[in-house]
């Protein structure tokens, strides 16, 4: 993946600017529902920022601080799996180009 001259997704996101909300995550996963619906692989591959990962214990990891707030996961996740809102005012990604 990193034969790509633009680096891995994580390396690219490092160059973006974020104001991370350290008090609360704007993304919550209902792990039981996610497991029942088998949503892990879907979330892991559709998110352009690779916020979701499948953990060894079967749960879905959420790196909410990397989120680019597009809404793809919310649109595509089976009902009941995600509770997703925009971060609180002023928090989250800060595009300088757009």
């Amino acid at each position: 993946m990193s034969k790509n001259p633009w680096g891995t997704v994580a390396e690219r996101l490092d160059r973006n600017r974020y104001e991370t909300d350290t008090e609360q995550s704007h993304i919550l996963v209902n792990q039981a529902e996610a497991e029942r619906a088998g949503a892990g692989p879907l979330l892991a591959r559709i998110c352009p920022a690779r916020v979701y990962s499948e953990q060894a214990n079967g749960e879905i990891g959420v790196l909410y601080a990397a989120c680019l707030e597009c809404g793809t996961c919310l649109a595509a996740a089976p009902p009941g799996v995600l509770s997703w809102s925009y971060p609180r005012g002023g928090m989250g990604v800060i595009y300088r180009e757009g």
């Binding site: 633009w6 680096g7 690219r12 998110c47 352009p48 649109a75 595509a76 595009y95 180009e97 757009g98």
Partner: protein
Amino acid sequence: MDTTATAEVDFDVIVAGAGIAGSVTAYRLALQGHSVLLVERGPSPGSKNLSGGVFYCRVMEEAMPGFLLSAPIERRITRNCLSFLSASSFVNLDYADDRLAQSVTAVSVLRAKLDEWLAAQCEEAGVMLMPGVRVDALITEDGRVTGIRAGGDELSAHVVVAADGVNSLLCRQAGVRGPEPLKHLAVGVKSVIGLPRRVIEERFNLSGDNGAAYAIVGDCTKDLGGGGFLYTNLESLSVGVVLRLDDLARSGESSAELHDRFLTHPATESFLRGGELLEYGCHLVAEGGLAMAHDLTRPGLVVVGDAAGLTLNTGFTVRGMDLAAGSALAAAGVVDSALKRGDYSQEALDAYPRELDKIFVGQDMRTFRRAPLFLENPHMYGDYGRLLSDIMYGVYNLDTTPRRHLAAGVGDALKNSPLALLPTVRDALAGVRAL
């Protein structure tokens, strides 16, 4: 129910979201002397926004006269290219025209800069801008929208304008608009690559502040519905893919990998070589066309721009910014007369969708109403690109076997393609009609 508000309100109008739709609405209403609050969740307007970047900006001369002279635009698009990509080839339809530089119908923009400028124009016109504040919900009373809730506070207005973009959580929570089917949405994954001005002008054969826009279909999405784009800014390139969510969810593909694959395809790579990655981002695109433009009003509420589903993807062009501005103009006109008459009822505000139908927004949405269905055709993204590349290969691969007329070469290429002649012709006709 009494629909004419007489009670004291905090503002005549509250606009939620300072993108193009929100800022243009707020600006026009402030010019008419109304008190307007513009609330934006980003720390500065534009900091949450992303588009491919070609703004068909004619409408701005009406919305904000002088736009072309003072707005932070990057380049005037004078070269448009449609590329069909296969794994090893690309076939380009290249259209350059000096007339486009004279008429300036399209410019490239970067939203973080453009939207900040638009909001500054609003403030100058008397709008009260409140950045860094997320609107948490619309307040409704007896089916009428009466204000907003934000950070524990409540603010009231005669009319609330939902300009909160494609996800429009505000309309969704209020039950005004439901979640859209996946095929009505696509995700755009984009990089901005910095390059010196001179290099961009050489690589794209441009002079001065002229610019080029490439729309790419085929291999760049591994045959998923969608396409690639490559647009020139003054000192950077906007490059990325748009992937229809129904196909993406079904396919097993990864959105980030498809973006990377497109950027490293030889045809793309040669343009980007040596550049520096300035930003990586993503955003949803409304793709439903006319089918998505519903439920635009409620008593006390109008919905504008992407929140109203007003985007058109014709394959050649993605248009949302011009429709956002156009819908804002229409909405501002209707809200202005509603405020003057003190009537914010459903009936009064329903003049807005009728107004949209009279101008290019509604008319173009109607003209291109078949485009989403046409673009759902899976052949659009793979087989046609390969077919074209086989035909061109036949024309140029002069390997000392005797040449035949183009028509025979097309026949051969069709035979080797999974495409049948009749449906291909039918698709071509459907395309001509839809686009």
